[in-house]
């Protein structure tokens, strides 16, 4: 696959591979815009992003990206229905206060959503709790219980169950073994619930 100047995170790469060329994409929590930049250059998408941090927003706009500084939970409310083909929520679901509201909004303003999050049922997480008795601290979730921004613990199974209950369809899913800071990674096909560090889901309306 053609890569941009800087190597992109493995999970972002997989997300990019799902996106059809020439589509409209909204990236929630887009950081410095590396995924958007990649999609615009390689997939000719019409991309925009939401990001809360002022200096990251500035970086994005300097690159020529359309990015709005704001809170994703509020900003998703202000687009007309079906403004986008894909709305991406990468590595953020575990920090969202009202995930059901956010996902519902994502599927209003977009035809499909792409959601990724660290898998809390990875064997290391299970072992950590079982053996040490402390709340798990891993490379993917590197915080102590008292200072973590990750207010939700989610497993791949949880997300599938949530889809059934809240009412959206899982169109595609992939489990990966990758460290977010690391660019390398593998797709996990055997025992993903236990062996995957992250899950990525393509979701659509029921």
């Amino acid at each position: 696959m053609k890569m941009p100047g800087k190597m992109m995170r493995f999970d972002l790469h997989l997300i990019a591979s799902w996106i059809k060329p020439g589509t409209r994409v909204l990236d929630l929590g887009c950081g410095e815009g590396s995924l958007l930049e990649y999609l615009i250059q390689n997939k000719n998408v019409k991309g925009s992003g939401i990001e809360q941090n002022e200096s990251r927003v500035a970086k994005c706009i300097e690159k020529g990206l359309s990015v709005i500084q704001g809170d994703i939970n509020q900003e998703v409310e202000d687009y007309p229905d079906n403004s986008f083909d894909y709305v991406i929520l990468s590595q953020t679901l575990q920090q969202v206060y009202a995930p059901d509201d956010l996902i519902r909004s994502m599927l209003h303003i977009g035809k499909m959503g792409i959601v990724s999050f660290p898998n809390f049922s990875h064997w290391r997480v299970r072992m950590h709790l079982l053996v040490t008795g402390y709340a798990p601290v891993t490379k993917q979730l590197p915080y102590q219980w008292f200072d973590t921004p990750n207010i939700r613990v989610i497993t791949l199974k949880d997300f599938r169950k949530f889809a059934r209950e809240v009412g959206y369809r899982i169109l595609k899913e992939v489990a990966i073994d990758s460290q977010s800071v690391n660019k390398e990674g593998n797709i996990v096909r055997v025992l993903p619930d236990i062996r995957a560090t992250y899950g990525i889901f393509l979701i659509g309306k029921e």
């Binding site: 925009s48 002022e54 200096s55 927003v57 500035a58 994005c60 706009i61 300097e62 690159k63 020529g64 990206l65 359309s66 990015v67 709005i68 500084q69 704001g70 900003e75 202000d78 687009y79 007309p80 403004s83």
Partner: protein, 390 residues
């Protein structure tokens, strides 16, 4: 807006520039203003920088704020001590790069900076207009500027950029001439004045009108209402700063004194600073022009005038790609007003970028050299140029 340009600007300069004049609406073809009255002939002072390309596709129009003028960058002569009001932003290799873009800055009708306004001669009476000058609106200002852009042979502007009252003109340009504007950068501005903003303008106007020299606007052959205009400027100036910037700049420090003198001479540094600003302002600005331009700003209401009361409807008439910028310490046009604008742009299905820049300098932050602001504008314009002009 205040004056921040230092003696001899840093870095590259556009060099020596000339003020030019554009005249339109010669009788009997006077312009019918929004108030229903006619105005003509109309002269606009303007300046240009850089070179218009063969396709005429690299033109950027800069719109100035209340007390600004067409002199945005460079110097008028070798002896000129002060460069234009946005010299930090406009020039070779700067945020608005005059090596790539053809930059135009036009003065507004109602002003006293070379364009037709209350202090210019009414051809019918051969005396200055004074209060005979019709009340103009932001829409009238933009319609006059449109004739200038037409005269320059430019069919489509790559971008319109302006802060404060200049930002209102940006929005007016986008809604009146949607096919002529590829991109828009409204900075530190609003779609309509809050009660707070109108209140400060009214206090400033009252200061002018309470000056006996004002004489119902008829003062051009006698003493000018300098005290009133200076007080108006002092009020305005306070609204352009912030609590933080004033605390850092002045605090409670005394000017050339170590103790109180128990009288009403200026003692605090902030007092002597404001008096100085007021005094400087009356040397270059006309009191009636101040009344007319503040009134135009107070009347401006994008939703009422262009969207049947809906900001979203007004923005859905526009075609431009937007970059909206606000500043954290701006309490005259606070960030919530820019956010409302961004919300309406999104709901109208138009493309928007928005950044709230952290700055302690209040409303005036957009005029102060700021590398972040320059690089944001530069990157945004680069993209617009690649999409539209190549």
């Amino acid at each position: 807006m205040s004056e921040y340009t230092q003696k001899g600007s840093q870095g590259n300069s556009v060099g020596i520039v000339d003020k030019k004049l554009h005249t339109t609406a010669e009788p009997p073809g006077e312009m019918v203003l929004e108030c229903g009255r006619k105005l003509g002939p109309i002269t606009l002072a303007y300046e240009t920088y850089g070179t218009l390309n063969a396709e005429k596709s690299n033109a950027i129009l800069i719109l100035h704020a209340l007390s600004g003028d067409a002199h945005v960058a460079g110097f008028h002569s070798k002896e000129d001590e002060k460069p234009g009001w946005w010299d930090s932003m406009v020039g070779p290799g700067k945020g608005i790069d005059t090596d790539r873009y053809f930059v135009i800055c036009s003065n507004i009708i109602g002003s006293c900076m070379g364009s037709t306004g209350p202090c210019t001669i009414n051809p019918k009476t051969v005396t200055p207009y004074g209060l005979e000058f019709p009340v103009v609106t932001i829409g009238d200002m933009v319609r006059a500027q449109k004739t200038l852009i037409d005269a320059l042979g430019i069919k489509r502007l790559l971008a319109v950029i302006g802060g404060s009252v200049g930002g209102m003109q940006v929005l007016e340009w986008c809604v009146r001439y949607p096919d002529m504007v590829a991109a828009a950068i409204p900075l530190a501005t609003t779609t309509r004045h809050s009660a707070l903003a109108i209140a400060f303008n009214e206090v400033a106007r009252q200061a002018i009108m309470a000056d006996p020299n004002w004489n119902n606007g008829d003062y051009y052959y006698g003493d000018r209402p300098e005290t009133g205009l200076a007080v108006a400027r002092m009020i305005g100036h306070v609204t352009y700063l912030s609590d933080e910037s004033m605390r850092l700049k002045f605090g409670r420090r005394l000017q050339d004194k170590s103790d109180f003198s128990f009288n009403f001479s200026p003692e605090f540094q902030v007092e002597s600073y404001l008096r100085y600003q007021g005094k400087r302002f009356v040397e270059r600005f006309d009191a009636n022009a101040f009344l007319y331009i503040t009134k135009a700003a107070d009347y401006f209401d994008l939703a009422e005038q262009h969207g049947n009361g809906s900001t979203i409807e007004a923005f859905s008439k526009m075609m431009a790609r937007f970059l909206v910028i606000s500043f954290t310490s701006d309490w005259l046009y606070p960030t919530y007003q820019s956010r409302e604008m961004v919300r309406a742009i999104k709901k109208a299905g138009r493309d928007a970028s928005f950044c709230e820049i952290e700055a302690e300098w209040g409303h005036d932050a957009f005029l102060i050299p700021n590398p972040r602001l320059s690089s944001i504008l530069g990157g945004f314009l680069d993209r617009v140029f690649n999409e539209n002009a190549r």
